[in-house]
């Protein structure tokens, strides 16, 4: 049966629609033209309500071994939020690291329909897929940690881009992941010896390859394989005073590399690399400088990694960073090195309004957006749960849309935010089109052609918010974006009045990279027979694990 | 044969353990003779055995505050004061249930006493299971 969404005020940046009252038609999970609707159709009247494409989150840690470690070692976080089962939904718990079911339900309640898990350690990809299986309501896929992969680094050191390319293709297919993730390139590899790198030209331990060489090499490979998404990079020196220079250098490091469709480098949670000063005492915001740099540089996109003032759980594949954080705050710490591939850390953290550094971090993330001219280049994230749980997006949107809401918050923050950040003087207020762009434009950056818009042929993922077009009241904005009037996922009504009414299944997205296995067979055998603790036969994730899936891209061999 | 001279009981600490043979027997089946044989064994320091005046394969009585069973003794080296019983129904009869509210009973480090047996033979599995019927 078809579905007619009538009289809504539609925003669809990709198709240039800026708040027009129009009707939308859905059939068999797709947006269709009215004439293709068929005879039977149900109508929902959306008069006075705002219609967005389903939200696409480009960077949220929602599944896999690192996320589950966060859940496992934080029973106190699970205790903070418990949701009983209902006739349609499973029970859930967790404030900053919710259980799989609750993750799906909560995102859906906020109008999100696609989420990218941005850090899959290859050896544990099967785990990520097992959790995907248990996340309802969402389409999802993973980005594969490759920036510290020993074989990749060795190939790059030898300048063997051809083999490296096939290795990357093989890894992506074996793990059924979607793109290349690179976390603190060289740094996490050094962490296997308890060390780190301190900048783009600091060679990593043992291999003596620089972060710059790794980034450049992976971008080359990404382009040559024609992958849908850019290289997704977590910069070096994350979370340290003065690190905005690393971000600027990193942006420059891919000069000359271009792609017509999308960026070649996506820098994630840039807020965490937006700091000036040379110590925690002199710590200050460089959000505005970063925004200017992004506006000037073609083929770069970023997501924000905003922070909000909630108790949360930090987790990254940046092993040395998490150790550093543990040393600073003496909170409990999980570290996990994955053989030949990656390393991760998890530490609980609470951003506090009365702590100067935290207040400035809050400003950095918002300034980056407010100072940026071309909002197609920036996407909203909290690097869930690092800057705060994804449930804070609604609050972020309120801050971006309302100067008054910002001023009210600033009044409760440590005074440093006034002198060490520009936010207090920023007047810009984003409108709904802008919000739609920074939360749905992600699909463009990800190369997801059927997502993030409502044109004919798009996936029928739709979010309906109960909000006035001119709304400026922070609390009202927050309430509207936290609890959707309706969410439609794959053409099915999933959420009504902010509550899940139908626990629909989501799909796992993957790409067929068609690796030329013959080129790397010798190296595969050497790695697996010598240094991996599992056999080559047992490494690839079988298609069985994907459940409902969709192949988004097939590699064209030239 | 002379008179049986009973040595005084030996105070020691009981640990339950996994042994390779018990693992193998477990996979063969808990109702097999191999499993019964392996799990009804106590490993005891050789010097302690000498003090108790028992030789390998003798039957000894092991007692803790919750019960006692008769087991076949086998010697181990250099573990004075520590006896080991493979995990299984015999060990269970010696383990207290207190968990100090952690979920975990003390399967290791239990004060115990080993004495010579008056010849009733190894406690049978049927007897041990029989004790469990009828509930608590």
């Amino acid at each position: 049966m078809g579905l007619i969404l009538k009289n809504g005020i539609v925003f669809d940046p990709k198709n240039g629609i800026r708040g027009e009252k129009m009707d939308l038609f859905i059939k068999d999970g797709k947006m269709v033209a009215e004439k293709d609707l068929g005879k039977k159709a149900e109508t929902i009247d959306l008069a006075g309500k705002v219609v967005f494409p389903g939200g696409v989150d480009i960077h949220a840690h929602i599944a896999g071994s690192k996320v589950n470690s966060g859940r496992l070692f934080r029973p106190e976080d699970s205790r903070m939020r418990t949701v009983p089962r209902t006739n349609v939904t499973r029970a859930g718990s967790g404030f900053s690291v919710p259980t799989t079911f609750l993750t799906g339900y909560t995102y859906s309640e906020m109008g999100y329909t696609t989420v990218i898990e941005p850090a899959v350690p290859p050896l544990k990809a099967r785990h990520t897929h097992e959790e995907f299986h248990d996340i309802p309501m969402l389409d999802k896929t993973g980005l594969l940690l490759l920036g510290n992969n020993h074989q990749v680094i060795e190939y790059l050191k030898a300048g063997d881009i051809d083999r490296c390319k096939e290795w990357v293709a093989w890894m992506l297919l074996a793990t059924k992941c979607y793109g290349i993730k690179c976390v603190n390139p060289g740094g996490t590899a050094s962490w296997a010896w308890g060390k780190n790198v301190d900048g783009l030209d600091d060679p990593c331990t043992h291999f003596e390859v620089t972060p710059r060489e790794i980034i450049r090499g992976l971008v080359d490979i990404n382009e040559s394989l024609g992958l849908p998404h850019a290289v997704h990079l977590h910069c070096n020196n994350l979370g340290t005073p003065g690190n905005y220079t690393t971000a600027l250098e990193t942006i420059d490091s891919v000069k000359g590399l271009t792609n017509k469709e999308r960026s070649v480098l996506h820098i994630t949670h840039l807020q965490f690399n937006g700091y000036g000063g040379d110590s925690w005492r002199t710590f200050e915001s460089r959000g505005v400088e970063l925004a200017e740099k992004i506006d000037k540089t073609p083929n770069i996109t970023v997501d924000t990694g905003n922070v909000c003032f909630e108790p949360t759980t930090t987790m990254t594949a940046d092993g040395p960073f998490e150790f550093h954080l543990h040393q600073l705050g003496k909170q409990k710490w999980i570290n996990f090195d994955v053989e030949l591939e990656a390393g991760t850390g998890v530490v609980p953290y609470e951003y506090r309004k009365d702590v100067s550094v935290n207040a400035i971090q809050w400003a950095v993330g918002l300034e980056m957006v407010l100072a940026l001219k071309d909002l197609a280049k920036i996407h909203l994230s909290t690097d869930h749960p690092n800057g705060g749980p994804f449930t804070c997006y609604a609050e972020m949107i309120a801050w971006l849309m309302s100067k008054k809401a910002r001023a009210e918050t600033i009044a409760t923050l440590h005074d440093a935010v006034k002198s060490k950040a520009a936010i207090s003087d920023m007047d810009r207020e984003l409108d709904l089109f802008d919000i739609c762009l920074i939360t749905r434009g992600t699909a463009q950056t990800l190369g997801l052609a059927n997502k993030g818009h409502l044109g004919i042929g798009a996936d029928a993922d739709v979010a309906v918010y109960d909000i006035g077009v001119e709304e400026k009241d922070g609390a009202t904005i927050e309430r509207a974006f936290r609890h959707c009037a309706y969410t439609i996922k794959g053409g099915q009504l999933a959420v009504k009045d902010g509550k899940v009414v139908n626990a629909v299944t989501g799909r796992t997205l993957w790409i067929d990279t068609k690796p030329r296995t013959d080129v790397i067979e010798k190296d595969l055998r050497k790695r697996f027979e010598g240094y991996y603790s599992v056999s080559l036969d047992n490494y690839p994730v079988q298609m069985d694990y994907l459940g409902e899936s969709e192949m988004v891209m097939e590699r064209c061999k030239k | 044969m002379g008179f049986l001279i009973l040595a005084p009981p030996i105070k020691c600490t009981l640990v339950t353990v996994r042994t390779a043979r018990q693992g193998e027997a477990l996979e063969m089946g808990k109702l097999t003779q191999e499993y019964r044989d392996e799990c009804s064994t106590v490993l005891m320091d050789e010097d302690d055995m000498n003090r108790l005046r028992v030789k390998e394969d003798a039957i000894v009585k092991v007692t803790t505050k919750v019960g006692s069973v008769e087991l076949r003794v086998r010697p181990t080296m250099n573990s004075p004061g520590v006896i080991a019983v493979p995990l299984g129904p015999w060990a269970n009869a010696l383990i207290p249930t207190d968990t100090s509210h952690t979920g975990m009973p003390s399967y290791k480090g239990i004060p115990a006493e080993v004495s010579t047996s008056m010849g009733q033979g190894i406690t049978s599995l049927d007897k041990l299971l029989g004790d469990l019927y009828g509930g608590a």
């Binding site: 070692f73 029973p75 106190e76 | 100090s100 509210h101």
Partner: protein, 258 residues
Amino acid sequence: MKILLRSKNNVDDINVEADGVNHQLFGMTLAEIKKVAVHEGNQERTLSDFFDVTIEDEKGKGRLIVLEGDDLSKFKRIGEALAEGEVQVNGDGGMYCGYRMSGGRIVVEGNCDAFCGMDMSGGELVIKGNASDYLGAAYRGESAGMKGGRITVHGNAGVEVGSRLAGGTIVIKGDTDLFTGIHMKKGLIVIEGTAGPRVGAQMTGGTIVVSKGELMLGFKEGGSIKDPKIEGEGFSGDFKTFTGDLVENGKGTILLMD
């Protein structure tokens, strides 16, 4: 107002969770109190399924809930989140008595089961008999446990009394078991009997006053002190001062009676 809950002594084995028995009852009518939900495993029941409920002195200023019966230890979570008024348990208290309480007073005439006074932030919990394990302790994984209030036990207490204590006072008139005050950060624990082994292990702050007991390595002996006063409480006698636990670079204090 005095609310009398007389147990019907009809709890079979499954423990009953009575987390609704706290100050909220004072704002209710008799009929409402009777209907307060309690849980017997997966079955939702009402307070009146297990108690005869009566209200005495309805107009009186006092705010008191009295529980009577032989099987009170089968009722978990009595006085959970209590903020004001008094709860009197005329018998043994079940698990989590006074869990997360922030004010008011709970008196247990008999012994108490585990996890009593866990994550408490204010008020007073008095146990006239023995307390079990995890008295005034932190919930699993929580970095800070009890933050305020006072617990007094007339008898002995079990393991992990005041783990991760972050404020408030716990007084044990008898002995304690293993790990009293483990990981404690602030506040005061007083053991008038013998402290169990590993007292103060991994503590980083706060004070433990011990009459008898052996300290672990990791506590550096300082000077002696006579009739010390800590957190407003006075103690008479000569005490040796120890600082630790050095394994955590701790700055906690143990006062051991000479």
